[in-house]
């Protein structure tokens, strides 16, 4: 182990800065093969930036990376994984609707079996084996979105191991694991190291570092401080190197005697179970800190207090009066405000001006009537910015140009303008330079001193201890400690935050429920189909309940089925196409004209299908290259293609097709209408594509999570092109059948049918948000639509009401799907 050999990973002079903040400055280190190398540092020290650079998520500004002595160029996560580098993040980026096994193996390609199709048995087996190697076992067929964070993390680790990574980065892996699971993980890590896998273990938990690491690297403020053998460094020494400065310099919290109680939480419990039975109280003049690890439920608690999340039980009392309607606007009016954790996502309006960002919360209350007083807003903003020492050029500039620290100050300004009694801040100084950090701390201190109250959530231990008058520790949704920071040891606080052996991972019961609900939805679809058929059969037995009528219904469902399958493909891949009605008309016209001009039948059919594919491709190209939303593109091409059709047909009806063409859809083959045979063939082909080919699975993945798909290197543009082109081709084929079965093609052909296609797809289980969809679902959806139409006719309802019912159906299904999804989370 100690023979002089090439380091597995060597970093030379790595630097990276974001908008003025130097995240990494000239960091050099090396990691030996087969070692477990710890990486520690406070928040903002540069740990995650370093990991992101080596794993390809971001590019360094300067510096070199060497893997086993070879220069490594990583510009994209795919480069890293190709080189044998794997990473397991804290929050796994995955495809929620795909099975866990698929998530694990999709990156390297699902195993192919007979006839070039995906071998699902092998997929599941390999996934199960990989997980068993970690000493765990759980269902790999469940959609990944239904599993707990702990399981997803473990699965990711298993996948990384399975891919035989040479270098494995683990980022806070034990954060979401129970004590038992962590122990098993450590065993695995030791085993992997013995097998020659190099592991970089990033963590805040120093005892873990001491237990499983051989050496440890300490970063501070983006710089490399020290790399040493773990045996030669005590926890105290590590902490000293991490912090490296006098606490009193950074955190000037002045002591104050607390005044009246402002906020009191009595045994509040979250509806989703992220926190339970929490009680606390905040007084004027004090800063109450809440410390804890990721997943402890602190942010959820703050959001619930502000009214962004529903409470299951418990009481929120303001100035000793319980609040009935918990809603952000009413909380703000009563003097409680919340500065969120993630300022990019939940805080700033990036392209909008500083003035707007600062005054957005008080806009309404400052308006005389409804008119805005711009001058007052600008003046008030400028004054406050000067007070907070915000560095900016003009109050009209977009906020995204400011550094993180200044952005955070603007957000502080936003809430200060509302003149609150209580400010809840979530990670106030995350990703901020030291200067701004000190200024914000001073601000909070001054503010508390003026008689306001602050509830501060922080995972930065020195900050939590230095700034709080009282410090609560949350662990797995409950309060696990109440400390007076001046009189407490840092280690005691940190320990209180760690989950112990008796705690259990998030109940998987609710997740299993979610899977069952999804199955129920699909089953109820089939049940609805059957019920509707039965009802109609009873209502009008002579007209409806004959075999020939059933066949007629099934046959007339063929055209909607083709279109629904096309719509399923497009929607599942994350797009939408409302021009399919026009595509059908145009292709039907092309086919009809070709047939009337005595083209051989196969040629005519081919022409129609190819035309459809081309039209669909054009939709895709305009979306991808023009970067326009597909709804706009297809809304436009809806008109363009219909217009083209009128040109091609010279506004004349196309009819009088020769018999051999009509035969395509007439008569019976072995007692069954031809259209039914075609439908079956298409459903089989569709199922094979979506379920058993890599391209089909990738298509679903791209719609499920475009970001995750990008991370593993799926070509989104190509897959969307395939989806739109195939949809067009299927629609073209539907056009052929239209011409053959109706015998007439005119300018009104298939007008409005795009809606039917989408309705059938959505009813059949294709979520409008993408990521799901089956061929047989499209078939059932189409059958249901035809039954409804047939039923309306039989019951004597005018055909003009059809659109009304189709629209209502879409609304109901989408509404129900949405509720189901919300209930599951």
């Amino acid at each position: 182990m100690n023979r002089p050999t090439l380091p597995r990973l060597e970093l030379q002079g790595l630097s990276k800065s974001y908008g003025g903040v130097q995240s990494l400055a000239d960091v050099s280190l090396d990691v030996r093969p087969g070692e477990v190398h710890g990486l520690v540092g406070e928040n903002g020290a540069g740990k995650s930036t370093l990991v992101k650079i080596v794993t390809g998520a971001v590019t360094a500004d300067a510096g070199n990376i060497y893997l086993d002595g070879d220069r490594l160029h990583v510009r994209h996560p795919r480069d890293a994984s190709d080189a044998g580098i794997a990473v397991v993040h804290q929050e796994a980026e995955l495809f929620p609707h795909l099975s866990l096994a698929e998530n694990m193996l999709l990156g390297q390609g699902l195993p192919i079996g007979r006839w070039g199709l995906i071998d699902w048995k092998q997929t599941y087996t390999r996934a199960e084996q990989a997980i068993e190697r970690l000493g765990e076992s759980f269902a790999v067929r469940t959609p990944a979105g239904n599993l707990s964070v702990a399981r997803r993390t473990l699965a990711e680790i298993a996948a990384a191991v399975d891919q035989q990574a040479r270098l494995l980065f683990l980022d806070e892996p034990s954060a979401a694991l129970t004590h038992l699971e962590s122990e098993r993980l450590f065993e695995q890590i030791r085993r992997l190291a013995a097998d020659g896998v190099t592991i970089v273990y990033v963590s805040h938990r120093l005892e873990e570092i001491q237990r499983i690491c051989d050496r440890v690297t300490i970063l501070r403020d983006g710089r490399h401080v020290l790399t040493g053998d773990v045996e030669s460094l005590s926890t105290k020494q590590i902490v000293a190197h991490m912090v490296g400065r006098e606490l009193s310099q950074v955190f000037p919290k002045t002591s104050i005697s607390p005044g009246d109680e402002v906020l009191r939480l009595e045994r509040v419990t979250d509806t989703a179970g992220r926190f339970r039975d929490v009680s606390l109280s905040v007084h004027r003049g004090e800063i109450l800190g809440i410390y804890g690890l990721v997943g402890a439920g602190r942010t959820e608690l703050a959001e619930a207090t502000f009214g962004l999340r529903p409470l299951a039980s418990g009481c929120v009392c303001l100035h000793d009066r319980p609040i009935r309607a918990l809603h952000p606007a009413s909380m703000m009016r009563q003097g409680v405000v919340y500065l969120p954790e993630d300022r990019l996502v939940h805080g700033i309006f990036g392209q909008l001006s500083l003035t707007l960002n600062a005054t957005i919360a008080v806009l309404r209350s400052w308006c005389p009537g409804i008119l805005v007083n711009r001058q007052r807003n600008v003046t008030a903003t400028r004054d406050l910015f000067d007070e907070l020492r915000v560095k900016y050029r003009a109050v009209s500039q977009p906020i995204h140009l400011l550094s993180g620290g200044n952005q955070q100050k603007v957000l502080f300004a936003r809430w200060l303008l509302t003149e609150p009694d209580l400010l809840i801040v979530d990670e106030p100084t995350r990703g901020i330079d030291v200067q701004a950090k000190i200024e914000l701390h001073r601000l909070m201190d001054q503010w508390a001193g003026a008689g306001k109250a602050v509830l501060m959530i922080s995972s930065d231990l020195p900050e939590a201890i230095g700034m709080s008058d009282r410090l609560l520790v949350m662990r797995e949704g409950r309060i696990a400690g109440d400390f007076l920071p001046r009189e407490t040891d840092e280690a005691e606080v940190a320990e209180a935050a760690l989950p112990d052996a008796t705690s259990l991972a998030v109940a998987t019961g609710s997740r299993a429920q979610a899977a069952a609900v999804q199955w129920l939805r699909q089953l109820s679809l089939v049940a609805a189909l059957v019920m509707l058929a039965v009802v109609l059969a009873i209502a009008e037995p002579e007209k409806f309940a004959s075999l020939s009528n059933f066949q007629d219904v099934a046959a007339s469902a063929a055209i909607p089925l083709l279109m629904a399958l096309g719509a399923t493909l497009v929607i599942a891949s994350g797009g939408i196409d409302i021009s399919v009605g026009s595509i059908l008309a145009l292709c039907a016209a092309v086919c009809g004209i070709a047939v009337n001009r005595q083209f051989p039948l196969p040629v005519a059919v081919l022409l129609a299908v190819v035309s459809g594919a081309l039209l669909g491709s054009l939709n895709a190209l305009l979306t991808i290259v023009g970067k326009i939303h597909p709804i706009i593109v297809t809304l436009a091409t809806l008109g363009v293609y219909r217009g083209l059709m009128r040109v091609v047909t010279a506004e004349k009806r196309i009819e009088g097709f020769p018999d051999h063409f009509r035969l395509l859809t007439e008569g019976y083959w072995c007692g069954v209408r031809p259209l039914i045979w075609y439908s079956l063939a298409v459903v089989v082909a569709g199922t094979v594509f979506l379920r058993y080919t890599r391209m089909g699975r990738s298509l679903l993945a791209v719609g499920d999570s475009p970001h995750a798909a990008d991370m593993i290197g799926l070509d989104r543009a190509r897959l969307q092109l395939v989806a739109f082109a195939t949809c067009g081709a299927l629609t073209g084929l539907a056009g052929v059948f239209w011409a053959a079965s109706y015998g007439i093609v005119d300018t009104y052909t298939a007008e409005g049918w795009e809606l039917k296609a989408i309705a059938a797809a959505v009813v059949g289980g294709c979520l409008i948000t993408g990521g799901t969809g089956t061929a047989w679902g499209a078939a059932i959806g189409a059958l249901l639509m035809e039954l409804i139409r047939n039923g309306l006719v039989i019951l004597g309802v005018s055909a003009y009401w059809e659109g009304f019912f189709v629209g209502l159906l879409i609304l109901s299904v989408v509404f129900v799907d949405h509720r189901l999804r919300r209930a599951a989370t």
Binding site: K16, Y18, V21, S23, G41, S48, L50, P328, A329, R343, V345, H346, F349, G350, Q351, L352, L356, I360, A361, L363, W366, C367, A394, S396, P398, H400, L401, R414, E427, R430, G431, I432, S459, I578, G626, K627, I628, H629, I632, L635, A636, T637, L638, G639, V640, R642, G643, R646, L755, I768, T769, S798, Y800, E802, G803, F805, G807, I810, V814, F815
Partner: protein, 332 residues
């Protein structure tokens, strides 16, 4: 100059560009109209412009809707529904035509409110909601009279669609009023600022304690109200209501908004730009009619225009790329 200055320059540049295009179209008109720039031709143009009022009125709330990152595909159906309800209330139920118009407006407003409720409180995507209600409202409009038109409305009502006020067609005044109201709301009220913020970052809008659900609800309801008004104008113009009225109007309205510079992704809005867009499309159609360009190709031109305009929007906006944002450096 800093980026915000450049951005503002671009935006202003776009409206000047649109005005330039409009001027070119006007010159084309003077060349194609018989006799050139005469009072007769101009007054014909002015008279004809009343036909742009329907799209013009609807493009104002649509601008605001698109600015919030939403969309309303059901506007054409709302107009049809409003018009048919007007027709039925007068023709079948026997109401006074003016009360019938009020009834039509109320129903259209209700339809818009349903859109707003489902998109706001219901938290469904406006795209899907209005795609579905597009069919529901059109279906209602058709089913009400089994697709038969209502005709021969009383002449006293004609003024709404064909009358004059102080020299100019009444509809232009209506359109102008809606436009001015829209500009006021967008640029001088907290509602306008809030809508822009909502489009820029919907999640942050909730966290900033903005009344998001209420804003969306009332916005789409207002859209319905304007649709009802437009329906009354249409019915007065064409002296009747038919269920197929204004098919494809949604594309035209969205085209005007996109042409005017408002981006589909939300976060910005230009009602002046939209106004110029309406005028451009109106002039384009007028000129095409003058040279007897086949009507059947007009959807092709419209569609092509939308695509070109949208691509232009995106390209211009991308030139003002966002710089990398500090938060990428999350706690290490």
């Amino acid at each position: 100059m800093n980026a915000s200055g450049i951005l503002r320059r671009l935006l202003r540049a776009r409206e000047w560009l649109l005005a330039l295009v409009l001027a070119v179209l006007f010159i084309w008109f003077t060349c194609s109209a018989r006799g050139g720039l005469t009072v007769h031709n101009l007054s014909n143009l002015l008279n004809w412009s009343r036909h742009w009022a329907v799209a013009g009125m609807l493009s104002v709330p649509m601008t605001l809707i698109i600015a919030t990152g939403g969309i309303d595909l059901s506007v054409a159906s709302l107009v049809a529904l409003g018009g048919m309800v007007l027709g039925v209330l007068w023709g079948k139920v026997g109401w006074n035509i003016w009360w019938a118009a009020g009834g039509g407006m109320m129903v259209a407003t209700f339809g818009g409110a349903v859109n707003g409720w489902l998109s706001g409180r219901g938290k469904l995507a406006p795209l899907v909601v209005t795609l579905a209600t597009m069919a529901v409202y059109r279906g209602l409009a058709m089913g009400m009279t089994e697709s038969k038109p209502i005709t021969n409305i009383p002449a006293s009502f004609y003024v709404v669609g064909q009358g004059h006020l102080w020299g100019a067609p009444l509809q232009l005044w209506l359109w102008g009023t809606v436009t001015v109201l829209g500009i006021l709301v967008l640029h001088r009220t907290w509602i306008g600022d809030s809508l822009i913020a909502l489009g820029e970052n919907p999640r942050a809008a909730r966290y900033a304690a903005l009344p998001v659900d209420a804003l969306i609800f009332w916005l789409y309801a207002a859209n319905g109200l304007v649709a009802g008004l437009a329906a009354a104008v249409y019915v007065a113009q064409y002296t009747g209501a038919n269920p197929n009225m204004e098919m494809g109007l949604e594309l035209k309205v969205i085209a005007c908004v996109v042409l005017g510079g408002t981006r589909i992704t939300g976060g910005n809005a230009s009602i002046v730009g939209t106004l110029l867009g309406v005028l451009i499309i109106g002039m384009l159609e007028y000129n095409l009619d003058l040279i007897e360009f086949p009507k059947k190709y007009q959807p092709v031109v419209m569609g092509g225009l939308v695509i070109v305009a949208a691509i232009m929007n995106e390209t211009l906006a991308r030139r003002d790329e966002r710089s990398p944002i500090a938060v990428e450096g999350q706690p290490a």
